[in-house]
Symmetry: C2
Subunit: 342 residues, 2 copies
Amino acid sequence: MKVTMKDVARAAGVSLSTVSKVVNGHYSISEETATHVKRIMEELHYYPNARAQNFATGKTKEVILLAGMEANTAFHNPHMFEIIAGLEEALRRKDYRLVLRGTDSTEACGVAEEIISRQSADAIAVHVGIMSHPLSALLTKTQFPHIVLGMPNFSSQVCWIDNNNTYSGTMAAAFLLSKGYRRIAFLGGLYYDLGSAHRLEGVKQGLKNGGSHLPDQYIWLGESTRADGYRMTCNLLEQRPHPDAIVCANNYIALGCVDALKDRRIRIPEDMGVVTFDDYPFSQIIEPPLTVVDIHVRSMGAQAAKHLLDIIRHPNMQIQTYVTTSNVIERSSTRSRELGKG
Amino acid sequence: MKVTMKDVARAAGVSLSTVSKVVNGHYSISEETATHVKRIMEELHYYPNARAQNFATGKTKEVILLAGMEANTAFHNPHMFEIIAGLEEALRRKDYRLVLRGTDSTEACGVAEEIISRQSADAIAVHVGIMSHPLSALLTKTQFPHIVLGMPNFSSQVCWIDNNNTYSGTMAAAFLLSKGYRRIAFLGGLYYDLGSAHRLEGVKQGLKNGGSHLPDQYIWLGESTRADGYRMTCNLLEQRPHPDAIVCANNYIALGCVDALKDRRIRIPEDMGVVTFDDYPFSQIIEPPLTVVDIHVRSMGAQAAKHLLDIIRHPNMQIQTYVTTSNVIERSSTRSRELGKG
DNA sequence: TTGAAAGCGCTAACAT
DNA sequence: ATGTTAGCGCTTTCAA
């Protein structure tokens, strides 16, 4: 029924191992026999059986991704899937497959343990959202090839990759300064929101680089929700003088921020510039369309794949790195200001 | 190094096949030996090698998903990933894995061919977005276990599953009627947008069921964009009498529709009810929050998994089915109207 | 440059 | 209820 290597060997009048070598492009095979065997393979519609190859080589050519995928994850966190898409694409180019495995932070460690023990994948990718201490310990102890997508919020020896949010913050600040904004404020998430914290750090840095700075009264932190974005903006607007631009750590906060500004009839961008991060999910449809520091999460996934393949070759190698994949997309929530006006 | 079945057999003082039977819960094994062997397995930290199992059984226990995953797909089409998440979850419960494979409609057929030939998955799931005639032909010819997520827009013998958009449309109409709306209009996508067409069909049906109907002047079709939503609404508002409620075939159209109503100072829901489909991505943040017919795409993924597992057992079985997974979420864009007012 | 043969670790038919 | 044994289809060392 199914045509195997044996059939090819017989039909080609060569040995099994010769066929195998042809399949794998082994150097020792003469061009003559190689082309001959290949022709036979075509004629017979031969394709090597993937399962048998995996078994014989002791590899799966698969990377398994552990991630939280509760209901509506794709809506609340499209970033994650965009990273996944980038990961998959880059792996595919190297003939690796990506297996999806939903789980949560409590069971993830057990899941990983089984994968490692059963050798049902060549490497594990873990979305930072389900990272835990036990999992971290397991990965470092076993030295099983892995990479965490996003920096863990606790110190650990695992391999991870993350966007350089600090740098993105710096970009935001530099951009606003270049437009002539002078009194720049920041609305961000709470202490456990590392992304926001880094962006804040970056904004400070960027302002400093430009000879400016970020006063405490212009920094407000809260939940990353529309409601808190609104509240923080209200608090911010009680400060005197008003800022002339606001950097929102994310889209949700920006949404509330814009609401509050509109309610108070503060015009964007005439009276107030607004910048946020990520071109999605809402920044496009907010009125006015927001200027954003776009983060190419997909390319982060691609970078992760690259590193992972390195790690598969050298399982003891440790990688902890930030990647910079952002750029400013200017829309209508900012504009050049006459210098000296503020 | 790695502990195999052989080691377990030796340590337990039984044969290889006994261990295998214990692993697979074969009925013929006495409880006594079963528990004994299991203890040994624990002690030795034995886990069956997945690759060897796959090879020996001739199965991969994997389903591979072919889908278009260009840049930003996760943002433009979170539905797809929500379906994927549902598919994965349901497969996982049955000890199957989901492999992601990005591709496009032109190369998908070749990809599928290789998967089938190499037997590198037990079944193929195809997102309808990359469906093509050759792929359809391949799947039906080979009878390889498969399911298409979404109904192909051409007639074919492949297995597919899709949401019952007609029924969702009926729900929208029935809901509006129950609220006392009487002059209901529909804004939808163009002819090739089957989802929209079905929803329109459903609305007509629902109105008919309620003793009402949908006049042609209340039906406007265009691109599924905010801009066209705006335009269609303008056209609609030239009709006399005005409708008292509008059903928008999707979120993009709804966005433009609401813009237009606001520009004309037509109050929602006082002067005009608005309903759309899908709780995402924008319906939550539109002002006012829209009443929607929510489509549980994730559960469609789960259903797809169920059918797929059936199909794996019976490869010649054909399934073409609509699943109903919707319900109305009432928000602020509709409200009860005094009967007889219109 | 090619071939022979020994696995890879498990399953499953068959024998006991 | 348990054990024997023959594969599953390929890779890879080693010998020719």
